[in-house]
Symmetry: C2
Subunit: 332 residues, 2 copies
């Protein structure tokens, strides 16, 4: 399997991305195509990925996060985001992973891969793995900031297919993120979405509140991309504060004087905090376009890049895109 990787995007490009690529190549047996500035990538690969199956495609242009995504994608055909997406389009690569401008990645995916028939709004699906009992899908986490009720129903369908294939959950429970569990709760969008979800053929269990996400009341939590993005990042911030304030960041190690049940508790507590960290969870899958696209966190370091590549690898293996194509998005 060949995976294209944006080596020019995110806060830690290109060094951390090359290191993450090398680790992923080793661990998952995938071939990685690094798309970025060839001159620097040649040196970094010699240093960090000498023994791995890693090749380089030059991308002379860079898309900045401050640029208008649509304009940037149109005017920069030699950017890593455009080149990487086109590698998926022409079948050279099975997936594209980028920690660059999310807006530009979405725009490139829409332009070059296109939406799967019937899907009105492709959406970003995040796999939240904080609860040790299992993951929860949150969809949308930022592709669509203004939504209509039928978009949320489609997010539920996309999430259901993804959960069935990627997580092997046969009949995933879908919950609507809301400010109360009663049916009458919510803003205008949530109230109307409740009715639309009730009339869908999804396994809809009703409203779920903020605290229910981590409690795994539902397997899939649907919401608009504005709310989803804020909630996801708020949970991230929680881990950040813990790690920074307590100095448990990169230098974390278990104190030797800890023993017995206290040691177990301490390690469990810390590992749970660390799971909130964007460095751990890898990225979000863009669902509803004709190809496997993974949006990694802008602050991704090597470990997050490696995990984002794993997301891509497992999405390809479990044929998520084909499954979405085979679902009907024209009926309810």
């Amino acid at each position: 399997m060949i995976i294209a990787l944006d080596a020019d995007g995110g806060d830690y490009a290109s060094r951390e991305i090359v290191i993450g690529a090398a680790e992923a190549a080793d661990e998952y047996g995938v071939d990685i195509v690094l798309v970025g500035k060839k001159a620097i990538l040649d040196m970094l690969v010699r240093r960090h990925a000498k023994k791995q199956k890693v090749s380089i495609i030059d991308a002379s242009q860079t898309i900045e996060c401050s640029e208008s995504p649509v304009h940037a994608v149109r005017s920069k055909p030699n950017s890593a985001i455009v080149i990487g997406t086109k590698l998926v389009k022409d079948g050279s690569a099975s997936a594209f992973v980028s920690a660059g401008s999310t807006g530009a990645v979405l725009a490139a995916a829409f332009f070059f891969l296109g939406r799967i028939e019937g899907v009105e709004r492709p959406a970003l699906c995040s796999i939240i793995q904080i609860n040790p009992e299992g993951p929860v899908l949150l969809i949308d986490v930022g592709a669509n900031v203004d939504c209509r009720p039928n978009h949320l129903v489609q997010f539920g369908k996309l999430g259901t297919t993804f959960a069935q294939k990627f997580l092997y959950t046969e009949s995933p429970k879908v919950g609507l993120l809301n400010n109360g569990e009663e049916e009458i709760k919510g803003n205008t969008l949530a109230k109307e979405s409740y009715k639309a979800l009730q009339n869908s053929n999804l396994n809809f269990i009703g409203n779920v509140e903020g605290q229910d996400i981590l409690k795994r009341k539902a397997d899939i939590v649907v919401t608009d991309g504005f709310t989803g993005n804020i909630v996801l990042k708020a949970l991230e911030g929680f881990g950040d504060v813990f790690l920074n304030v307590l100095g448990l960041g990169r230098a974390f190690k278990v104190d030797e004087q800890l023993q017995g049940s206290a040691l177990v508790r301490y390690v469990e507590l810390t590992s749970m905090v660390k799971r909130t960290d964007y460095k751990e969870y890898g990225g979000a899958c863009l669902l509803g376009v004709n190809g496997n696209i993974i949006v990694a966190h802008g602050r991704s370091q090597a470990r997050a890049i490696k995990n984002a590549i794993h997301l891509a690898y497992h999405s390809v293996e479990t044929k998520v895109v084909d499954a979405i194509k085979n679902s009907s998005y024209t009926a309810k």
Copy 2:
């Protein structure tokens, strides 16, 4: 100071509420009027609050969370929520604290106390105390699920006055909760609110993202009540999952075998998790009505009730309502 307390609202009424009232009476030297079912309260007070300055007012009707708030408040004049709010209205009590139906508490406050002149939308302000470096105000956390940009500007003004009086922060920084830090980010409401906040006389620092709440990038984070409620509860859920999974809930104690720096870290980590717990932080202040109203969490137990009473006590002491009255809400 006399504080009226809804002894008939919330998941743990009336026992935990009486215990919390007794603790608060001891700790803050306030007099508590319990409003609820007199027959049971007589017994509970004899058992748990014999020595404290606690009196009882009978409320024969109960407002359920599933009822329409406006209809319930109109049709149940003998409910604790209506009686307690009226005690504030007529000056008998300095504040009213309730863990009952949030909607009904808001409706009663609007009907009987009324909005402060110029305030279009009173809002719920939560004091998030997870970061050990200090608190952050999140406003609105549930009073207004659908908002317009000028409402968010008013939330910023209400929060600013509250921070100045209650937290002694002279020129609090106001941030707009958004899905990115760039000015162009956001849904329609956030984009328009950004401009309105820029044109206000607030100390507006721009957009803040989910992770910035706990990092205290701003002193006050403004958002619509739908998003604010979900984010607040998501952070709560974080603490819940930690406490439940690790069995650190009520039975938490420091293991004797922990020593030195490991002990310090363990205690800090656990206390930070515990600060996310609704049992600890007490409640939210309703800002913009003519009186001190505290909405406690529906799942409040004794400790949360005690802390909610402290919120009421400190709001009265620092004259928050008068300060809001003296701010101009007709100009920018």
